[in-house]
Amino acid sequence: MSHHIIQVNNLKYKYPDGREALNGVTFRITHGESIGIVGANGAGKSTLLMHLVGVLFPDEGEISVGDVPVTKKTLPVIRQRVGMVFQEPDDQLFMTTVYDDVAFGPRNYKLPEEEVEKRVKSSLDTVGILHLKDRPPYKLSGGEKRAAAIATVLAMNPDILVMDEPTSALDPKSRRRLIMLLQSFTHTKIIATHDMDMVFELCERTIILQDGKVITDGPTAKILSNVELMEECGLELPLGLQGCPVCGTK
């Protein structure tokens, strides 16, 4: 299915105040790949992801999803294919109940109400917050909001899943549940995160960003275990790879 190929070409983006957040980013992601995007704070991860769903548009370079270039005109098509979880769950929850919020997307595609209900329930169940369905989102705890935000995107059944720090604020069990879920999701997924352990478990390929540029792009196992490289990019080995308290290796 060619429409799952994502091509990013020499992407440059400057925020209106002159901050150069992306400085020529190029990569190509093929169908079914699972990509971890890592990098220090301010490296440009969120900025990059926002380009993939057309929230920001590049100053230079181009992006295409499938064979469709991401432009203002093609937004409806793009957004139907790509589901994105933003870094800030508060930005993503805008209805009066969690249920309505998760149902918002499916309803926009005019699905019959039974189908909507099925989708809402299953997504809420997947992230483990079905019991919160009738509560207003602004009254949830930080992690509950995060889970709800993820559910809103799952309910849309996107072909490509883009997530900005999906595990932050989640408790370890919910994090584990999310990782399992993502493992079972066979479509393309792109995950920006500081959770190296998740990348290690989940993504076969990793892209390291630094100062708006791609520093490395390759197999996760190789990259994430390269102490020097990681150190250089303001990162660390996954915790699971660091000194083991049992055998004492470093």
Binding site: L75, M84, Y138, M156
Partner: protein, 270 residues
């Protein structure tokens, strides 16, 4: 500032009330909007000296409040907050209009007082009607009623976004004030010199946040229309609701029922 947080709290109370599922809540929003319209028109169309004729209008809020499970206290609090405005202007009537209107053996009541009470009751009823409408319908369903009434989409979207962002903004104000007070122990309120940067800051931040919210809506297929899933079609019951109430209002308007009851009673008494 407490004023602000309080108002947010009020919005939320009404929001939550609108989430209930009672007979009244289930009536089609369009019919509720129209019924409210008729009610308001009839209420204000009463002449300024017609006091008794107004009274049967009170059945509408009483029936709705009880049927829709609306808690009385918060609603009445709201009414009491708004009434002073009306009283302020209405109170001039007794001052300027001193013609005796009701002449009883032991007391004479001037037209000014009658019209004052008439304004007061009308104020009370109209405020109540608006609050009941929102508390049984909710903003999104009112929006869908407006859509059926062919109000342009752009305006409805604007209305709904404003509505959403009010919570976002006020919440943010509350949290910023909290953070401020945490780092300025011993200070009461916010120093004047910091007001400017604080509001400016808030405005710009809310602005950017609003853009993010809007984008995240678009990312989920938003195309200018809020879809409220559980909206059913209009049924006979809905139309009966509207027609029934309207009939009742019109009858009240043309016949002064309390006066009839009164004279009947008096007649019996004789």
């Amino acid at each position: 500032m407490p004023n602000l947080v309080e108002s947010l709290y009020n919005i939320r109370i009404l929001d939550e009330l609108a989430e209930k599922r009672t007979i009244i809540h289930n009536i089609h929003p369009l019919m509720k909007v129209l019924t409210t319209g008729v009610y308001l028109m009839v209420t204000v169309s009463f002449g300024k000296y017609e006091l008794s004729g107004l009274l049967p209008l009170i059945f509408y809020p009483v029936v709705l409040i009880t049927l829709a499970d609306i808690p009385i206290v918060p609603i009445f609090k709201r009414v009491l907050l708004v009434l002073p405005l009306i009283i302020g202007i209405g109170l001039f009537n007794p001052l300027f209009d001193k013609n005796p209107m009701i002449v009883l053996p032991w007391i004479q009541i001037s037209g000014g007082w009658i019209s004052f009470f008439s304004i007061l009751i009308k104020g009370f009823l109209t405020i109540l009607a608006a609050l009941i409408l929102i508390a049984t319908t909710g903003m999104t369903r009112i929006a869908s009623a407006l859509r059926i009434m062919r109000i342009p989409r752009l305006f409805i979207m604007q209305l709904l976004l404003t509505y959403r962002y009010i919570s976002v903004l006020i919440e943010e104000v509350g949290r910023v004030v909290r953070a401020y007070s945490l780092r300025s122990p011993g200070e009461k309120g916010i120093r004047f010199s910091n007001w400017g940067s604080l509001t400016g800051q808030l405005l710009i931040r809310t602005l950017e946040r609003a853009q993010r919210v809007y984008h995240s809506m678009c990312c989920r297929g938003f195309a200018g229309e809020y879809n409220v899933g559980r909206e059913k079609g209009m049924g006979i019951g809905d139309i009966v609701y509207f027609v029934g109430w309207s009939l009742y209002f019109v009858i009240i308007r043309y016949f002064n029922i309390p006066a009839m009851i009164g004279s009947l009673m008096m007649g019996v008494g004789k």
